[in-house]
Subunit: 732 residues, 2 copies
């Protein structure tokens, strides 16, 4: 069996499509889940053994079948034939058993059916309760576009508010807000115009478009899962294709599609050769048609082009971070994976600018003791799994490149777990060498496990000086920082001093070209010339702008090394970029928060979102126990006081049973319910425990405020106030 390592290293060599994929990853945090698919497809030992056993058993069945037929035609004795048939049936049973084992091995330990059923249960609840709505639904929608309905929108706005608190406020970041419409030159400089592409094939008859890699991937997966009879060699080949899928060139991808005879999935028509399709939505700025523009594929560029002003705003001091929350756009070829791969999404991005010679972080000690699942490059290459490593150790051992990168990994961990992401289904995976752009120093993805597998939700990359340099070059505006030395430093510098008078006499009209060529020499060339001039008095020198050699004499140039005093250094800062796919985080949060529990009567399963108060779309509901005017009056007073303290809530004064009302709001993830069953005191119920306490009407709003703000724990409320045992909750 070809080892995983071999598969991976073979993919490294064909990584020339990398930049486009990386921009793809980094810009939208819509990763290709390289590792997940690799780990998913890498053949494990038992699977290979089973495939070989199956092939052997298949041969044995065929041989025995032939033997039976031969015996029959040769007119063998019946007992002999019966014995041979029995042996054949035994072989067939053994084969069937191996097939079952192989099927189980291929599907993985957790049945993909269970995963899909769970996903469907969550999705149904989310759509029914309007967390999401397929956009423009009455016009049959548009693939890859979703609305956040009222509760989804509230969750999103809570997540963004917490992001601002956790990152922008805590770290004193400079938040900016730039337009989505972006002129072409900016995205030329960033590389998006040329490289932000996916490979596409067209149905040659209908013109329908497909992502080339998706078709090949689907073909291989289906073959592996449904066609158990393929040879172990064929299976290994298909798995290899899956492993190197992201690294295949346009031609290689086209050749594989041809080789496997893959056709358009909807029509079975032949497909075109693959060709790159730019994923940006294009438009035109102004009426002339002469200014092409694009809807930004990421928010980061808006920060980079403002570096100079932001650096000035920060008192010309490094490090500092700028941040931006905003919409980004990707014109996906054929969006799949529902809410995870969409054509418009909210990004929250941080660009932390730092001196490349000093990537220490003042506050690193605050996160150094955190310990969580990390999945370093080496563990991935050697086939191990993610493991818990203290962050301080990861940095000190050099697993994480530097303190600043480590600091942000820690802050991202805290951000996600504070939102309610399950820390056992969260890992930080390091990019493999072939996943990273050549300029990147290190890159880690926060991956969250959901029903689609491990999904990249945050990318944290040390992008070195790449982006600022690209915009400096394109715009001609230097995007640099200065370090003033406390004391001037002595630096040895090469000085090339062409003697223009002599050069003019010798080369007349060509003087300028010769001077420029002399000045352009690097240190090695210049010192070589100096030696030769000193020993031989002259030297032949190739001037590329003249396309010929000229003779340089000793008196035509002086070359020396001088000690110079420097008072400062000028450099392009490195940037460390945590980039958050807000929609993906929210989707995973929904899955991690969802559970079902039986109703009190036991006749149905009720859905619950166990949202923390921080993210819950509505913090509290207010119900009169029964439809009575005095209770309704009290409910209205409580509602008013909740509004005053800024607690979003929902009042329900319909005649529905209290149990049904609880079930309805549990399904929205409302953490607390106030039930009015008297005019002086009311009950507060906590969603997950269903525990209830009794409190005074006057106090209820401030207590709910305290527990939703996180200033007081429910356990404390529970131990402070009298417990309330409900008589009958109807449907609950």
């Amino acid at each position: 069996m070809r080892s995983l390592l071999a598969l991976l290293s073979s993919s490294v060599s064909s990584g020339h499509h990398l930049f486009s994929r990386l921009r793809t990853c980094r810009s939208s945090t819509l990763a290709h889940h390289v590792l997940f698919s690799r780990r998913g497809v890498a053949m494990n030992a038992s699977e290979e053994i089973l495939r070989i056993a199956l092939a052997e058993k298949q041969s044995a069945v065929e041989a025995q079948g032939n033997a039976v037929r031969e015996m029959k035609s040769a007119g063998a004795a019946k007992p002999d034939i019966d014995a041979a048939i029995e042996a054949l049936n035994g072989l067939k049973l053994e084969k069937a058993s191996i097939e079952r084992q192989l099927q189980a091995a291929v599907s993985g330990s957790e049945s993909s059916l269970t995963r899909e059923a769970f996903r469907q249960a969550v999705a149904n609840t989310l759509e029914r309760r309007l967390f999401y709505i397929p956009s423009f639904k009455i016009y049959r929608g548009v693939a890859g576009l979703y609305d956040y309905g009222p509760p989804g929108c509230a969750v999103k706005s809570n997540v963004l508010a917490f992001w601002r608190q956790h990152f922008v406020l805590e770290e004193n970041m400079l938040e900016v807000d730039c337009p989505c419409v972006t002129p072409e030159i900016v995205l030329k400089a960033s590389g998006h115009v040329d490289k932000f592409t996916d490979l596409m094939v067209k149905d040659e008859k209908t013109g329908s478009c497909y992502r080339a890699d998706h078709l090949l991937k689907d073909f291989c997966n289906e073959k592996l899962q449904k066609d158990l009879g393929i040879s172990p060699e064929k299976a290994a080949e298909l798995k290899h294709v899956l492993a190197v899928l992201d690294d295949l060139s346009t031609e290689e991808l086209g050749a594989k599609i041809k080789e496997y005879g893959i056709t358009a999935p909807d029509t079975k028509n032949p497909l075109s050769d693959p060709y790159p399709f730019n994923l940006m939505f294009q438009t035109s700025i102004g009426p002339s048609g002469l200014s092409p523009g694009y809807m930004r594929p990421e928010t980061a560029q808006g920060i980079f082009v403002n570096f100079k002003d932001l650096y000035y705003y920060n008192g010309n001091k490094l490090p500092f971070a700028a941040a931006q929350i905003g919409q980004a756009f990707r014109n996906e070829i054929s969006p799949r994976q529902g809410l995870l791969r969409v054509r418009e999404f909210t990004l929250a991005e941080i660009e932390h600018f730092v001196d490349p010679e000093n990537k220490a972080h003042l506050k690193f000690s605050e996160v150094a003791n955190l310990e969580f699942l990390m999945f370093p490059r080496e563990e991935q290459m050697s086939g191990h799994s993610a493991k818990r490593i203290p962050l301080g150790e990861a940095v000190s051992r050099g697993i994480v490149n530097n303190e600043t990168l480590g600091y942000f990994i820690g802050r991202v961990y805290l951000f996600l777990t504070c939102l309610g992401i399950d820390k056992n289904r969260l890992r930080f995976r390091q990019h493999l060498a072939n996943e990273m752009a050549h300029y990147a120093a290190d890159c880690w993805d926060a991956e969250i496990e959901c029903s689609y597998g491990w999904i990249e939700c945050v990318g944290i990359a040390d992008r070195s000086a790449y982006d600022l340099r690209a915009h400096s070059e394109k715009s001609g505006v230097p995007l640099v920082a200065q370090e003033k030395f406390p004391e001037p430093r002595e630096v040895e510098k090469l000085v090339i001093d062409p003697v223009k008078k002599e050069l003019g006499l010798a080369f007349k009209g060509n003087q300028r070209m010769v001077v420029e060529a002399l000045e352009a020499m690097n240190e090695k060339e210049a010192l070589g010339m100096k030696d030769t001039l000193e020993s031989k008095g002259e030297i032949e020198f190739y001037v590329c702008t003249l396309k010929k050699n000229v003779t340089i004499k000793k008196d035509m140039v002086t070359i020396s090394k001088e000690i110079k005093k420097e008072h400062h250094r000028v450099f392009t800062p490195s940037v460390i970029e945590p980039s958050f796919g807000i929609g993906r985080i929210i989707f995973c949060l929904f899955e991690h928060s969802f559970y079902m529990r039986p109703s009190k009567a036991g006749d149905e399963e009720l859905n619950v979102f166990r949202f923390l108060p921080l993210v819950a779309p509505i913090k509290c509901s207010v119900f009169p126990l029964v439809k009575e005017q005095q209770y309704e009056e009290v409910a209205k007073v409580i509602s008013q006081s909740l509004t005053t303290v800024g607690i979003s809530h929902k009042m329900d004064i319909t005649g529905t049973s209290i149990g049904k009302k609880y079930a309805r709001t549990d399904e929205l993830g409302v953490p607390f319910a106030i039930t009015v069953d008297s005019t002086s005191s009311v009950t507060i119920r906590e969603r997950d425990s269903k525990d209830q306490v009794r409190v005074d009407v006057e106090k209820v709003a401030s207590i709910v405020k305290e527990v939703t703000d996180g200033r007081r724990m429910w356990a404390d409320v529970w131990s402070t106030f009298p417990h309330h045992i409900p008589l009958d909750l109807g449907n609950e």
Copy 2:
């Protein structure tokens, strides 16, 4: 003199371009300031008198000049000639005086120069302190696109947070979040694809594009302001053109441009005829090129298409409101007015759905006593100015169409003034009949006065059932509400029952057309036919699909009125739409908050933004009085406790003088400054009064929290704590 009323009524008749202009207004709240320009250009009495006087004086000067020349050529006596010259000079002086008066009258009472200087002072401060940055500045920018830099972004996020609190939370609105990318069919239904246009002309040689109405407007204004010698008739004509500018047809606008010989402003080249240019940014969804899409020009459509789901979410009950905050896009032909007319902007829109038969509002009494500047249609038409009217009175007298519209006007007033908009420079102006779409019941704009004049910042329109009907028709999905009657109601209904057998015999193949025509009769026609059939036995009946009369006999149709019991009614809700141009509100807020005051030394003018804590980008600054380590330590402790209570702040530990530090943060509108001048107590300074109190280090964060949250007034802090008199503030 043609009266203002005459000017206005003449413009009413040519209002067939209305819809497009209104969509323009409503979608972006970037109004055409119809009234402002009208009021600005309507000739007032004194101006017309001056123009007539100037023309008379000019004639007199010419006549006297001729007289002098004649006397000279006739050889009159010198004393006579001298006297005549003296009279001529007197007339010239009088003419010059009238010219000066006229110039003053044309420029208005407040000099436009002062306005522009003020605008420039504010803009300089805003750009220097990075409230705004021209987008993609290092690439020389793109007209009509601006970034919010750090303090601008913070102000915007505060304004939006307050908007959510004031509207969404207080009113329990259903907030949604829909994509910007919108398929064509949605904007076909809304009318944007066909009508969301401005008229454009092209420089015939260079291809540069201009807005046709802008060129004509500039021409007229310049003529009126700089060419004082034009006849009163000509002046009246130009003013009339300005008044009806928005109502001119494509052809009329083209004719005027030709008549006045207007050329391209940059090159003086001839111009093309005007033609409509759609203001939406167009793009293509997916790779096929077959699905055109646009960047939404407003957020409202996302709400309308979701009406059915939202109505269900609200328990199938009216009224309810949905809200959305998001980016909107307008591909302006040639953006002017800097930050007011931009190509991408943030809108916050509310769609309040209500039963058209009951537009009362439960909470109207809460705003009925508000009294502020209102500018009803009638006052505008009769040339009066805006006046203070109690809102309750405005609704009860029918000036404002209904309570719900009135309620939102009141809530918008509270929103804007709570932000810090000067209530004396805020008015609510009713749309004139010709400004409103035919379907609108009433429409009011919140206009804020800034250096550009009165600017529409919020539009509050009762749009009746227009939008929901348009999407119902286009999508085929009924967007309706139901009212269940408590008791069934008896309704008299017309029943037309064609007798198909007889009609078939008489009309054969044409039977279906006749049946359809009979069924399509309205009540009056049907009852007329019934009478005639009863009296004469037959009737001639025109069938439009057959384009001829047929004879209907008594046995061919029965017509009757029946009493039917109805248990509910189905109707399309009306929508009341407050639509907020967030960028415009913020711009006006900046101008209303800006002032200058002399430095303590009196040698320079210092800029201050008097932001309320609610909107201030940074709530507090922390300075050590002098650069000393123990003070810096205290400053850091205070900074940490401010972060803990969620107060955004800025620490400045540079060696700059304390006066300079105050000046720097005053210019950012930071309301409070904490100065560390001991290790046990510190001072808090209030920005506008410059008053300082002394408080304990432990208490300072919670005091600042109280005053910035609005739970405590500065006056109370000032009277509670010992006052601190600074010794010397250096530059302050």
